[in-house]
């Protein structure tokens, strides 16, 4: 095929999602955030929700999500995204509100807001990016850091006696009567990406149907924080993270 | 016209609600009013008091040093507020449970036995309205009864409006104590 044919519109097999801005992302090469942003942008656009979606960005690496995905955004204080989302969702019931939170935001400083928004069954979507480390501040221990995992604040590895155990907040969320859909996915292979996209879509459908809170946890890599190459990070994740955080639906009503 | 009143007793004697009914009655009579309680845990079991001011003009301080009328419903309240009745003012107290009588010659003193009168009515909840009846009788500012009834209606939630005749009866009983 000649290049003139290849670039014809009808031969296009892949393009940047309509709602993903064509700008340089601040994420490190190999980071999972870029893929998850893309999936969000695709789902919102494909579901025709561009004019009705409001995102809540966290404190953490994804604080600048508002620079990439072309919907309205509110940047929340650390851990408070579910509270911010609660108010907007209740006051604009026609709109769809999602939070985009990291492990520190969701499972440490914002645990109360996370649990209570879900327990009230707010009609929101929570995207929970769990990479077991604090990326933005330079690789400190997260509530989800694995036992033995070395971070800037657990330089000899996380110890249960000193630091407690990895917090499986998604499992807790699944026990709450306010949640309708709780799932754990990843984005390290094309197949996993497809599944995650389907999960995000389902979560948005639940919010539209006012079914309650949907939680999509995405087990992710932080190769910079983990001090690995992107490929090593994917392997390490599959080998270690999935044991602690098995993939699949925890609840699907 | 301006009358500055404090009603003091145990929590549970209906001190605050009596003050509220008095204040609402004043409001129904087109007066300016303030109702300032002691608040907090002491409402429950300890001593409680409420300052009620009824006035033709705008009221400045809701908190006072001395009062035109002191209504004391237990010994502690009596001890505390006897010195704070203005000279020429009125001191009314319930004699039940009082073992030390007040010593003031420059004020009008009205001992009443509201507890006994309440027992005669047969409903302990009417106690504060018996006291209020006595207070209305001695108060130089004559609050018309129709506005007191209006005040009762406004103060009580509608589900308790069936109790208004009992309250009126208690007020009349209280007036009779003077």
């Amino acid at each position: 095929m000649e290049i003139q044919d290849i670039i014809k519109e009808e031969n296009k097999v892949y393009s940047t999602p309509e709602l993903l801005d064509d700008v340089h992302m601040h994420y490190c090469p190999g980071c999972s955030h870029g893929v998850i942003h893309k999936l969000l942008a695709e789902v919102i656009h494909e579901m025709g929700l561009t004019e009705r979606t409001v995102g809540i960005s966290p404190v953490g690496c994804a604080v600048f999500a508002y620079n990439y995905v072309d919907v309205d955004w509110v940047e929340a204080a650390h851990g408070r995204a579910p509270a911010v989302a609660t108010a907007i969702s209740r006051l604009w019931p026609e709109n769809v509100v999602f939070t985009y939170q990291g492990d520190g935001d969701m499972a440490a400083i914002g645990t109360a807001e996370t649990i209570h928004a879900a327990n009230r069954g707010e009609n929101i979507v929570m995207i929970f990016v769990n990479n077991a480390i604090y990326g933005m501040t330079g690789g400190q221990m997260a509530p989800t850091t694995l036992l033995g995992q070395k971070t800037a604040t657990s330089p000899y590895g996380r110890r249960a006696d000193l630091n407690g155990y990895p917090l499986e907040i998604t499992d807790i969320m699944a026990t709450l009567r306010g949640t309708c859909y709780v799932t754990r996915q990843s984005v390290h292979t094309p197949a996993a990406v497809k599944k995650t996209k389907a999960a995000i879509k389902k979560a948005f459908e639940n919010a539209l149907a006012k079914k309650g809170t949907s939680v999509v946890e995405v087990i992710s890599t932080c190769n910079s924080g983990w001090k690995m190459t992107p490929v090593q990070a994917n392997e390490w994740m599959a080998e270690n993270m999935f044991k602690e955080y098995p993939l699949g639906d925890l609840k699907n009503l | 016209m301006k009358v500055e009143i404090i009603i003091a007793g145990f929590g549970g004697q209906g001190v605050l609600s009596m003050g509220k009914i008095l204040a609402y009655s004043g409001l129904m009579d087109d007066k300016e009013v303030t109702w300032m309680p002691s608040y907090g845990p002491e409402q429950r079991g300890g001593t409680a008091n409420v300052t009620v001011i009824l006035s033709d003009d705008k009221i400045s301080s809701p908190v006072l040093d001395s009062y035109d009328i002191v209504v004391a419903l237990n010994q502690q309240s009596l001890d505390k507020f006897v010195p704070r009745v203005k000279s020429g003012g009125i001191l009314m107290y319930d004699t039940s449970g009082i073992h030390k009588r007040p010593e003031r010659n420059d004020v009008k003193v009205y001992p009443i036995n509201a507890m006994e009168a309440t027992l005669e009515i047969g409903n302990p909840k009417a106690y504060n309205m018996v006291v209020m009846g006595a207070l209305l009788e001695v108060m130089p500012y004559k609050l018309p009864m129709e506005n007191v009834v209006k005040g009762l209606k406004k103060s009580l939630p509608e589900r308790h409006h069936n109790l208004i005749p009992l309250n009126e009866q208690a007020i009349e009983k209280g007036r009779g104590l003077i």
Binding site: D70, E113 | W35, P37
Partner: protein, 360 residues
């Protein structure tokens, strides 16, 4: 009699005033002595009438962040609390100031520090007027002295915060929250429709209806040169507020030899003290700051001209007095009388303090 004239506690009156203003959302957490605000709203069920959302949050922190979210989406939202709870809310308040959002916060002050007491206090003056949370910012701070002002300042607070896109605070004390007075409620205003909000608040995160450019509400800017510009914009707005929105009340200042300066319900007690002092031939007047920020410094400076001294009466160890001293440039003696820990001074005590000041 007009049915809109009622006898109400200040806290209860705020609930009615919020509904009647057309407030869109109230988010709160119980704490004495202001729980009647949330209790009254839950009992009044405004979601059945005006559509106002009322929510008991899991904490003061969550409540203020709900207000932040509501405000970001252009809605008129409020919260209320008392001193320890207001401390918890400072994070959210600072974010709202940084993100230039309108909101109303009621603080019914109790004695501190720490858990302190549930009795009345004015010890949060510094916190309210000098920022409170982190960063360079001010709130518009209104100090009600009556239940009627509790009502009136709900509308005023919302209007000012929307006009200047900065949060406003009603700084009340336990006295005005807990006492009952005659109050005239304003007529019910309709809540703004969603389309009206989109028009009035084009910056709000209401969803990209009509595929307009996206709106982002944030207080973050990592580039210092841009962050400085944002700070200058905030400061310029504060100067504008200082120019336009100073409010105060004066009583008998013209012929006075001395002045009381007091805010909130303490100004009312000072009014009684003034009457007592004047009966004894001591000519004293009162300046009552109504906006604590912007502070009526020029009004106080003018009222103080030719006076022999000022007595600041506060329910704290000496906070507003610093602003009064600055206002009069220490040209005349400025003394302080404060009661702490929830004790309310009586009018006679205040007169005694005035005499002490005169004799010193």
């Amino acid at each position: 009699m007009n049915d809109e004239i009622r006898l109400m506690k200040g806290n209860e009156a705020v609930a009615h005033a919020a509904i009647r203003y057309g407030c869109d959302g109230y988010f709160g957490y119980p704490i004495t002595p202001q729980s009647e605000v949330l209790e009254s709203l839950e009992a009044l069920m405004p979601w059945e009438t005006t559509g106002m959302v009322v929510l008991q949050a899991e904490s003061e922190v969550a409540a203020i962040n709900m207000v932040y979210g509501a405000a970001a989406s252009g809605k008129a939202a409020m919260t209320s609390s008392s001193s320890p709870g207001i401390s918890l809310k400072q994070e959210g308040i600072s974010y709202m100031a940084g993100a230039e959002l309108p909101a109303l916060i009621l603080n019914v002050m109790r004695g501190g520090p720490g858990l302190g007491t549930i009795q009345p206090s004015q010890a949060d003056y510094f916190q309210a007027t000098k920022g409170g949370g982190h960063g360079d910012y001010h709130l518009i701070v209104l100090a009600p002295a009556s239940v009627q002002e509790m009502v009136d300042f709900v509308a005023l607070g919302f209007d000012l915060s929307f006009k200047y896109l900065t949060p406003a605070m009603i700084l009340a004390d336990g006295i005005v929250g807990q006492m009952m007075e005659k109050v005239v409620l304003p007529p019910q205003r309709p809540r703004r429709t969603d389309d009206q909000i989109r028009e009035q608040c084009p910056w709000a995160t209401t969803g990209r209806k009509g595929l307009r450019k996206r709106n982002v509400i944030t207080s973050l800017e990592l580039e210092s040169s841009k962050m400085e510009i944002i700070n200058h914009r905030l400061q310029a707005r504060y100067r504008e507020i200082e120019k336009n929105e100073v409010r105060w009340e004066e009583i008998n200042t013209d012929d006075a030899d001395y002045l009381f300066v007091a805010f909130g319900s303490i100004a009312r007690i000072c009014t009684k003290a003034m009457e007592l002092a004047r009966e004894e031939g001591i000519k004293v007047g009162i300046v009552r700051p109504i906006t604590l920020w912007p502070f009526p410094d020029k009004a106080i400076e003018k009222a103080a001209e030719g006076k022999k001294g000022i007595l600041c009466v506060e329910l704290n160890a000496g906070q507003m007095i610093e602003d009064v001293r600055l206002a009069v440039h220490d040209r005349i003696p400025v003394c302080h009388y404060g009661r702490l820990g929830g004790i309310i001074p009586s009018p006679a005590e205040i007169v005694e303090e005035l005499k002490k000041m005169i004799n010193d």
